[in-house]
C-alpha cells in the first residue's frame, strides 16, 4: 500500500510540476515564501492530534483563502473528521495552531470563540437535527450564535425577522412547505437539506461539511451536493468538506488536501488532478 501511495504521490507531484497551477500551490506549501494572493480565512500550522497514545495526524499545515472550496480526502481513519473538528475548535489539538477568521482558536476566550463560530456553519454526515422539534425551529437554531437566548429556542418564541430569515433559508433549500413538520418525519435527503438551511441561515463566512452526503443514496447525495455548492458559491463562502467520493471532491472542490499516514500527502488544485491520481490515497 505504501508503495502504491508513494508512486501516486510522485505521479501527482510530477503532474503538478507540469500544471500551470503548480507554482502557486507549491509556493503556498513552502511556508516562508507564501504570498497571500487573497485574504486567508483558515490557517493550520504544524497541527497534530493524538487520542491517548494513538497519533491521528501530525505536522499538518495549510492556508485556505476566502471563497475557496477545499476537499479533504483520504481513506477511513486518516483523521479527516478530526481535522475538521480541530479547525472549528470543537476538540483541542495536541500541537500546532489554527487561525480561523483571523483569530488563533486556542488563545481565544469562550466569548471570542463563540463570536468566531457565529460566522461558521457545519453540515455533518448525519444531519444532526433535533428530531422532535419542527423544521423551522431547527433552522432557527442556526441563528443562536448571533442571537443567543430563549427567543430563538423555538419558532413559537422567535421574533418576526428571525422567522423570516429562517423561512428564506428553507425556501433556498426548497423546503418552505415543510416548516412546521417535525424533523423526524423527513426523508434523509430532506433532513440534510434542513441541516444545510440551518448552516447557511446565519450567512456564515466559512462552512464545514463532514461527508454531507455519506448517509444518502447516490441520487439524493448528488442533489444535496449540487444544492450546497450552488448556495455557497454565490456568497463567496469558504468551504471545507470531507468526502470519500472522488468525483465529488474533484467536481466541487477548488483544491484538494489528501490525508494519508497521518500527514498531508497531497495538496493540489482540482483542475490539475484526475480520479486516477487520487486512488492511491484509498489503497
Amino acid at each position: 500500500m505504501r508503495d502504491t501511495l508513494s508512486s501516486t504521490i510522485s505521479s501527482v507531484t510530477d503532474l503538478l510540476l507540469r500544471s500551470p497551477a503548480a507554482p502557486d500551490v507549491l509556493t503556498e506549501q513552502t511556508g516562508a515564501a507564501f504570498a497571500p494572493v487573497c485574504s486567508v480565512e483558515i490557517e493550520a500550522r504544524a497541527l497534530s492530534k493524538t487520542f491517548g497514545a494513538t497519533p491521528i495526524f501530525s505536522d499538518v499545515s495549510f492556508r485556505l483563502a476566502r471563497g475557496e472550496a477545499t476537499a479533504l480526502v483520504g481513506a477511513n481513519g486518516t483523521g479527516k473528521s478530526t481535522l475538521l473538528r480541530c479547525l472549528m475548535g470543537l476538540i483541542p489539538t495536541s500541537g500546532g495552531t489554527v487561525h480561523l477568521l483571523g483569530q488563533q482558536t486556542d488563545k481565544a476566550t469562550g466569548r471570542q470563540m463563540r463570536n468566531i463560530r457565529a460566522q461558521v456553519g457545519l453540515v455533518s454526515q448525519k444531519h444532526n437535527l433535533v428530531p422532535r422539534l419542527t423544521v423551522l425551529s431547527n433552522v432557527l437554531h442556526g441563528l443562536l450564535g448571533k442571537h443567543p437566548g430563549i427567543r430563538h429556542w423555538s419558532h413559537s418564541l422567535a421574533p418576526q425577522f428571525s422567522r423570516e430569515t429562517a423561512m428564506q433559508a428553507l425556501e433556498r433549500v426548497g423546503l418552505a412547505d415543510f416548516a412546521h413538520r417535525r424533523a423526524d418525519r423527513l426523508s434523509g435527503g430532506q433532513s440534510q437539506r434542513v441541516a444545510i438551511a440551518r448552516a447557511i441561515v446565519g450567512a456564515p463566512k466559512v462552512l464545514f461539511a463532514d461527508e454531507p452526503c455519506a448517509s444518502l443514496d447516490p441520487s439524493a447525495g448528488e442533489d444535496v451536493m449540487e444544492l450546497f455548492f450552488q448556495l455557497v458559491r454565490d456568497e463567496n463562502v469558504t468551504v471545507v468538506f470531507t468526502s470519500h467520493n472522488i468525483e465529488h471532491a474533484l467536481k466541487y472542490g477548488d483544491r484538494l488536501l489528501g490525508l494519508a499516514q497521518g500527514r498531508i500527502q497531497l495538496d493540489a488544485t482540482a483542475a490539475s488532478l484526475s480520479s486516477a491520481d487520487l486512488r492511491g490515497l484509498y489503497d
Partner: protein
C-alpha cells in the same frame, strides 16, 4: 504427548466438560459468598419453624379480614383518604420532576457545570436516595407539622433524588450530534442544552417521570403511618384496633389504585415513546 496437547483434543475436552473447573480463587469467592448469605439469614432471624407455623396464623388473619368492610360510610371515608393520597403523590411528583431538571443539568457531565460541581450534586443526590422516603416524611413532620404537606415534601425530595440522577444520566447519553452542530455555530452552552440536549432527552425524561409518579403513589400510601397524610393512617388504625376488615379494604384499595396507575403510566409511556422513531 504432543497429541494430547493439540488444540483439537483441548477443544474436545472442553466440549465434554459441562462445567469448567473453578480456579482456587473462584472457589474461595463462591465459598465466601455462601458464608455471607448464611450470615445474613441468621441476622434476619430466619427460622424454618416460624415459616412452618405461619400458614395457620395467616389463615386466621384472612378469616378475620374477609369479607372486607364495604360499609358505604367507611368506603366514602377511605375514598376521600385515597384521593388525598393521590393528591400528595401527583403534587409531589410534579414539583419534584420540575425541580429535578435544573439539578440534573448541574449533575450531568460536560453540559453546563464543571466536574467538581457535577460530583458535589451527584453526591447530594446519592444522599437523598440513601434516605428512605418514610424517613424524609418523619423529618418533614417535625419541620412543618403533621398532615399531607409533610408527605408532599417527602415525595418532592424523594423524586428529586430519583429523577435528578436519571435525568442527568439521560442527558449524558443523548446523541451529541445536534449539540455539536449548534456549538459549531457559536451557540452558548445554555442554548445548546435547551435546544438540543433537553429535547433529545425528552422521551427518556417522560419515561422516568412516569416511573417517578408510580413510585410516588406507592410511597404516598404508607406515609400516613408516620402522620404525613394519606390513606396509610387508616391502615395503621385498622391494624391497631384489630379492625382487619377495614384494613383489608385499605389494602385492596391501595392495590387497585397502584395497579391502575401502573397501567395508565405504561399506556402513556408506550404512546409517547412509541411516537419516537
Amino acid at each position: 504427548m504432543t497429541d494430547t496437547a493439540s488444540p483439537r483434543n483441548e477443544r474436545a475436552r472442553f466440549e465434554l466438560a459441562r462445567f469448567e473447573r473453578p480456579s482456587a480463587i473462584s472457589f474461595l469467592g463462591y465459598a465466601l459468598g455462601l458464608v455471607i448469605i448464611f450470615w445474613c439469614l441468621a441476622g434476619a432471624g430466619f427460622s424454618l419453624e416460624k415459616v412452618a407455623s405461619s400458614p395457620p396464623r395467616f389463615a386466621d388473619f384472612a378469616a378475620r379480614a374477609f369479607p372486607p368492610n364495604l360499609d358505604p360510610q367507611v368506603l366514602t371515608r377511605l375514598g376521600w383518604k385515597m384521593v388525598e393520597t393521590l393528591q400528595i403523590a401527583v403534587a409531589g411528583a410534579v414539583i419534584g420532576v420540575i425541580l429535578s431538571v435544573p439539578v440534573a443539568l448541574l449533575a450531568a457531565k460536560g453540559l453546563i457545570a464543571g466536574p467538581l460541581v457535577n460530583q458535589i450534586v451527584r453526591t447530594g443526590l446519592s444522599f437523598i436516595r440513601a434516605v428512605p422516603d418514610i424517613a424524609w416524611a418523619l423529618v418533614f413532620v417535625v419541620a412543618v407539622g403533621l398532615g399531607p404537606f409533610a408527605g408532599m415534601l417527602a415525595i418532592v425530595i424523594d423524586t428529586i433524588g430519583f429523577c435528578g440522577r436519571f435525568f442527568a444520566d439521560d442527558m449524558e447519553a443523548t446523541d451529541k450530534g445536534p449539540a455539536e452542530s449548534l456549538t459549531a455555530t457559536g451557540a452558548r452552552k445554555l442554548d445548546v442544552v435547551a435546544c438540543a440536549t433537553i429535547p433529545g432527552s425528552l422521551p427518556a425524561f417522560i419515561s422516568t417521570s412516569l416511573f417517578a409518579l408510580e413510585k410516588a403513589v406507592r410511597s404516598s400510601t404508607i406515609l400516613g403511618l408516620v402522620g404525613a397524610g394519606g390513606i396509610g393512617i387508616e391502615l395503621k388504625v385498622g391494624f391497631d384496633l384489630f379492625d382487619y376488615p377495614t384494613a383489608m379494604t385499605v389494602i385492596l384499595m391501595i392495590a387497585v389504585v397502584v395497579i391502575g396507575i401502573e397501567l395508565v403510566s405504561g399506556w402513556a409511556r408506550t404512546k409517547i415513546i412509541g411516537e419516537q422513531r
